[in-house]
Amino acid sequence: MQFLSIDTGLFLEKLTMVAVVVFALLGIALYTTFAERKVAGFMQDRYGPNRAGPFGLLQPLADGVKLFFKEELIPLASNRVLFILGPFVAMFTALITGAVVPWGSELEVFGRKVSLTIANPDIGILYVFAVVSLGVFGIMIGGWASNNKFSLLAAIRGASQIISYELAMGLSLIALLMVTGTMSLCDIVQQQMTGSWGGLLGWNIFVQPLGFLIFLTCVFAECNRTPFDLPEAESELNMGYHQEYSSLKLGFFLFAEYVNMIVSSAVVSTLFFGGYDIPFVDEASLAVQIGANLTAILGTLMLLAKIVFFLFLFMWIRWTIPRFRYDQLMQLGWKKLLPLALANMLITGAVILLMNR
């Protein structure tokens, strides 16, 4: 079937993938907010939400309904169009990174091979990087359009923080790229699947441990998570860049943070922890035993398990480490992480050169 020289099957397939990924991201984000409060309760030796439904499982729905029914306020002195645009941009940039993450290998549906990656461009990592750098716009537009000093300050803080940590992030990625020799996320996962112990030793974390630490720190900063949540430092800025927001627009901003966390966890798992690679298992022989489809689904579940682990790490750190002061944050970014990432890059380059001799 051809329409406008597009393969209709492929189109439907990708459309389904997009819908599944978007709804899965939103659904997981919904329950991440719940998990966050439960983990916080656990860390602080209290119960956490436990009233709505069994174990409080309906709490996210209750929160959503609450946000939905809140009165929607748009400040008179605000820039109306941009005020509405801000949360949408934040949500949009949070979601579109999911397009290049390989969520699994291949499924066979109705005789078609369906790749579980929405798009596998030649420049996958750079795409992630571009979207991260666009993530600033949501915060900046929202903060500025609110026409509020605190919002503007928070937005500028957030933007300068994201720009500062982007550098170290990019440099740690360059070291990783020198090892992998490809920018396609699918190829990077495929490379990590080979190696002893069912691919475990092929994981990039063992090749680039320092790069991983730098990358993870930068991810925390990019997601505005504690200890880097300066844009939302409520003790200094009342609430942060979304102070003037209410109702669902506030929900979008808060939700975008969780979507960002999930997507970043997926990217970290993909780059350093083998993506959908099942540790201690050789996927090729497993596929012969239980079928390719089941293996693919198991791989996707494995990726989800890795994502859940990183989400827990996000929360663990949030509820144990206090917030940095702003100058400490900048010092860490520019004077520690950046030189460290540069050194990591140089050492990686030297080792690659020596090993090729």
Binding site: L4, L82, F137, M140
Partner: protein, 166 residues
Amino acid sequence: MNTSHLLFWFLTALSILSALMMVTSRNPVHSVLWLVLVFFSISGHYILLNAQFLAIVNMIVYAGAIMVLFLFVIMLMNTQSDAEPHHGNRMRLAGTLAGGSLLLVLVAALRESELRSLQVSAPEGNIGLVARLGSILFTDYVVPFELSSVLFLSAMVGAVMIGKRH
């Protein structure tokens, strides 16, 4: 008319429209955001030409870095309309004349160029892909490449020197 054509016309209309909006917007923040949209649509054109690397770098550098700095500056400046210097009609006339003559020169130059007879073979060739581009940059064009990196370095040093407190 196939998909490439459809996308091409869509992106062209989008880029021209957003460029016009960028120039005519009264609010400088709106201008910056329209300009970001221009960069997006130009990136789309690059992708149509199979120059993925160029497209994404255009987005990272221009939309992601430079425009954010623009936003910074504009948001921190007080850009209320009553505080702006008022331009008289003479200034407007001079601006229109200058812009019009630039347009005339550009159109005249493009009219005689070979651009009209050039056929762009859309998603073919792999020169825009990263591996090919990198090997070309580091073999055929290594001297200009290194020279431009020295240029960037000196610009960076200059920026640090200007920003330094005395």
